[in-house]
Each structure stands twice: as C-alpha cells, then as structure tokens.
Symmetry: C2
Subunit: 343 residues, 2 copies
C-alpha cells in the first residue's frame, strides 16, 4: 500500500509552509491574505496528487468528527429502517456520517451505546430512547451535546424531540371502528411505559369512554418472541370470543396478531373482525379482512429530526430552547366489503 500523502508533502513540493496549505484547504485563504496565485497553485497540486487530509488528525485537533450517532429501537423494523434510511441520506448530503445501532429497547445496552458514542466523539445524538435512560440523556445535554429524540419523549428531560400525536391517532382509529359499528374493541399492546405507547393507550381509552364502551387491553411482554406473542394473543382472543375488533399498538404486534387471526378457520369470526394497527406495514395491504392503519409520516419525521440536528450542529452554543415537534398521523382506511354496517 503506497504511503498516504500528508499536508507536509504538499507544502514541501511548493516550498511553502504547512500552515499556508492548511489555511487554503480550509477556505481561509482570503481571510489569511494568501495570494490568489499561490492559492490556485496549492489547490491544483492537491487535486493532481489526490491529497486528502487525515480525518483522524483533523478530528483530534478540532474535536469534531462530522459523525452523528443514530440509535433506533430496531433497525430491522421497517418503521425505523425507513427513518434511518432517510436520515442517512440527508446527513451524507450535508457531509455527515451516520453511526447507527439498535437499542432493542434495552436500558443497559442503550447506556453502553451512548457511552460508546461518546468515546467515538460523535458530534450529535439522535435517539429513540427506551425507559430508564433519563439521566444519561440529561447528562449529554448538560455537557452541551446536540441531542434529538425521535418517536418518543422522555419525562423530565428538556430535549429537542420529534414525535407524532399518538393520542389523537389512537383516538381516531378507535372512533373509526366505533363508527363502523364495532362495540367490543380490544387493544393489544406491549408492556412498555414509553411515552408513545402510553399515549396510544390513552387515545384508545378516551374514545371508548366517550362512547360508553368497555376497554379490553392485552399487554404482551416486549421480550416475548414471535411464538410467545402469538400464543399470548391466541389465548386472549379465545377467552373473549365476543371481541369484534382489535387495535394493535404497533406494527410487529399486529403482524403477530394477524398470524394468529389468519390461522382461525375461514368459516370463523375473522371476516367480521375490525382491524386497525398503529404504524402501516406492507402486510396490511394484502390481509383479508383488510387492516386499516394509523400511518406515521416517516418522511416528515426523518426530515424534522435531521433538520433539528443540523441546526443544532450549526449553532455555537447549542442552547436553543428545546423544541417538541408533534406531527399528525393519518388513518389509512382500507375498505372491506365485509365491514359491519353502522349501527
């Protein structure tokens, strides 16, 4: 492997100082009164020999790595994968690299990852926080790092944040089912106290209360694997034969639920079941009975997140007032000829 060129090689060849070359490369030629002639010669040689500054040395010196740490719950979940993809794209355009990882909503793991990001000297943090990392995030902010939370808030932490109106989304979804004539609507969620899950539950409950209907909630443990989850949903539905509609709190729970429902023999109830899920998913386009979805505006979420982050990174002192952006969800109604008629 041929030796990498250094700035000193450029300097030597042109008989100028390292300082001069550095100034020119950093666009400070004018400011530092380097002659146009010399500037041109330096840039020409740099181009010719393909010199590129050593980023490690740059970072060591400047303290900036042009890197953003991105922590999502699970990169293999399409919702997060899409957001990650969009964020990555914008970041690259702006000259930033993305280091990503999946928290698996595990507190300890997340703490480790935050600490790993610190060690790496990332310039900013984008996080979908699990429970129990309040202090770590507070510390990041106190230490002056740009932090943007995505998808969920963290109580007691005054951080920039991009979320959707989860309560309203769930409320609308539930109301939609009620309007269609469903009366025994179950809510299947996971046992998480994260803001987005709590808000969805609230939206569901609110809609039912307003209509004097009874709430029926199943909380599946998050750690359950696919099989356990299906098992859990199965017995829940078995015991409550009178349930005529289900609102799933998040897409992977819905997919598990649909697996269960699709196994019930065709002659059975499912055709009449009203189904709505939080987060849209390719699967829902095809399922019979149709599945309506509370779609999150992934593109808008990604854009707001990265915009906020780039703003913070551009700032001298990142003490802008913390901003919480709440985006609307939309109900993707998939019409089924089989749905109940309004009572």
């Amino acid at each position: 492997m041929k030796k990498k060129l250094q700035i000193s090689d450029i300097a030597k060849q042109l008989n100028v100082s390292i300082t001069t070359v550095s100034f020119i490369l950093n666009g400070k030629a004018k400011e530092k009164r380097i002659s146009d002639d010399l500037t041109a010669r330096v840039l020409k040689l740099v181009e010719e020999v393909g010199y590129r500054p050593n980023q490690l040395a740059q970072s060591l010196r400047t303290g900036k790595t042009k890197t953003i740490g991105l922590m999502v719950e699970d990169i293999s979940n399409p919702f997060f994968a899409n957001i990650a993809r969009l964020i990555e794209e914008r970041a690259h355009k702006e000259g930033y690299k993305i280091v990503y990882c999946s928290t698996e909503d595990d507190t300890e793991r997340t703490k480790e990852l935050i600490s790993m990001f610190r060690d790496m000297h990332v310039d900013g943090y984008i996080i979908t926080p699990p429970e129990g990392v309040e202090e770590d995030i507070k510390k990041l902010i106190a230490d002056g790092f740009p932090v943007v939370l995505a998808d969920r808030q963290v109580a007691g932490v005054d951080a920039h944040c991009v979320i959707v109106d989860n309560l309203l989304g769930a409320y609308n979804a539930t109301t939609h089912l009620i309007e269609r004539g469903y009366q025994r609507i179950a809510f299947i969620t996971i046992d998480s106290k994260q803001s987005q899950m709590v808000q969805r539950l609230e939206g569901y409950t609110k809609a039912l209360e307003e209509n004097d209907l009874e709430a029926v909630v199943l909380e599946v443990p998050y750690r359950y694997d696919a099989k356990q989850m299906i098992q859990s949903i199965t017995s829940f539905l078995e015991e409550r034969k009178n349930i005529d509609a289900v609102l799933f709190a998040t897409n992977y729970v819905a997919v598990r639920g649909l697996e269960e429902i699709s196994q019930i023999s065709p002659a059975d109830a499912p055709a009449k079941l009203g189904l709505v899920s939080y987060d849209d998913h390719d699967v829902f386009k095809f399922f019979k009975p149709t599945v309506t979805a509370v779609a999150q505006p992934t593109e808008a979420i990604a854009n707001h997140v990265i915009n906020l982050m780039l703003n913070l990174l551009g700032q001298k002192n990142s003490t802008l007032k913390a901003e919480t952006i709440i985006l609307p969800t939309s109900l993707v109604v998939r019409n089924s000829s089989l749905h109940k008629t309004k009572v």
Copy 2:
C-alpha cells in the same frame, strides 16, 4: 462540560510516567515488567475517576479505528435490514463499531461511499456491490484492507464472499411450480447484471428447458418507483393472459407484483396463479393465493460475513486465500387449497 481527563492526569496523580500508565491500560504490564502493586494502583485510580482514553488519539497513533464499514443496497429492505442487525450485534460484542450506508445500487454513490470509508479509516469493508465498482474493490484489496462481499460476487475480483446458491434456488422454485402443474411460468426481475440476479435467471431458464417449457421474462428497470413498477407488471400480465404462474426475482418486485395481482377482481385468474418469490417477506404469509418463497438464510449469511471479517481483522497480513461461501436457500412452501393439481 467538565474537561475530559487525560492519561497525563492519571500519571501525575500517581507520580508515574505516562508511558507506564499506557502500558498498564493496554495490558502490557507483565510484558513490560510493571510491578503488580503499581499496576493495581493505576487500574484502581482509572476506575475511580472514570478515565477513558481518547479514541481519536488512539486511532491516529495506531491506525486502527475498531470500525467496520457496512454498505448494503438498501437498509430499508427487510432482507438487508435483518442482516445489518445481526452483523451489528456480533460486531459490537467483539468491540467493533459499524458505520453503515445504503448504496442504492448506484455506482457513483458507492464509489463515493468507499472513498468516505477510506477517509474515515475503517478497519474493514463489508459490501453488497453494485455493478461497476470492480476496480475500486480491487484497489481496496490490493491496499491490504479486509474486504468481505455479501449477497453477490464481483467478476474478476478475488475477494472473500458470502452468497447463496441462487441458481439452484431459482431452479428449485421453478421446478416446484412445474411439478404443481403450472406450464406458463413467467419470471419477473429487474434489469441488473449483478451476479445474484443473473444466477436466478439461469436457474429459472434451466428448469424450463429441462421441461421443454418456454421462458417468459419481464425485466423491470431498477430505478422505477413503485407506481411505474406496478404499471409495467400490469401491462405485462395483461398482454399474456395465459400465464399461470410467476416467479419474482426479488422481494420488492414481488410486493409490487402482488399489489397488482390483488387488484385484479377476485372472480379472475389470480386464485389460480402460482406464485413464488425470491427472498421471503412477512407479506407472503398472508397473501391469497399463497406465495411460496425462496428463503435466504439471513442469519447464516450474517454470521459467515462477520466471522470472515473478524478473521481477517485478526490476521497480520490479510492475504488469506479468498474464500467464497455458498449457502443453500430453502423453499418455504405455503400450501394453498387452490393450487393446480399435478398434470
């Protein structure tokens, strides 16, 4: 933000040299004959004050960043997202960080990304290469960097590589359809000369030839968006009403295709259509008529990739002989009561 501790702070507090502390922290205490007593005292203090070495300085000095660059075609494709997730997990366990990005199968973009990774001084490269980057990859290898290709080979490049037996997979899938009595089997793929796509086409053709059946192939341009793709598939199927089965070359084409097929009125052909897709997908579990899939062993792929990479990274001179690992696919047969009976 409180000033970060440096190794010199530790050294000063204990009245020893920086060198000594460094040796101890790097596990060379014994080798360098530092007394057990001093070693213990240094480690104790380091622990107490929470000193962590500056990774940028370390990397600058050692040339190692403990970072692996991972370039997949598209992180929002579940196939790649799953692999990425598994690789990330193993990498972290072994003390490596992952920097990822999506190539979008764009040659120029990929070249840029490779160059970005070089600038970042990643220790190793995991790449799902698009067409046209042969030279860049050769150069990486020639320069002594550990490179592992995933999902596809690159002609003329002697790199470590993990792929599946695409030809056999497609052959088996096609044979499966033939055995079920389908006669007019179409192959819907994208216009890519990438090894995996070519091999799938070959498998399909081979099976048809062996059975004296005629090949009917649609190549959709990769750059087409969902709408265009559906449009393209629609007119293709319209013009060939006699087609009774479809083999999709990759999952996102299949999902588009299913959208098209699901729109055909229920009274129509689709119920009789034989459907198989390369790459399994959640969607296929639910579609009616059922979709059989050529499932790729994502977990095995990820494991082999990261194992190869870690081996290379452990090596002094990464000139192990390039190894190509070919993994088997499996046919996930989803039984439909509607399938044709064998002729």
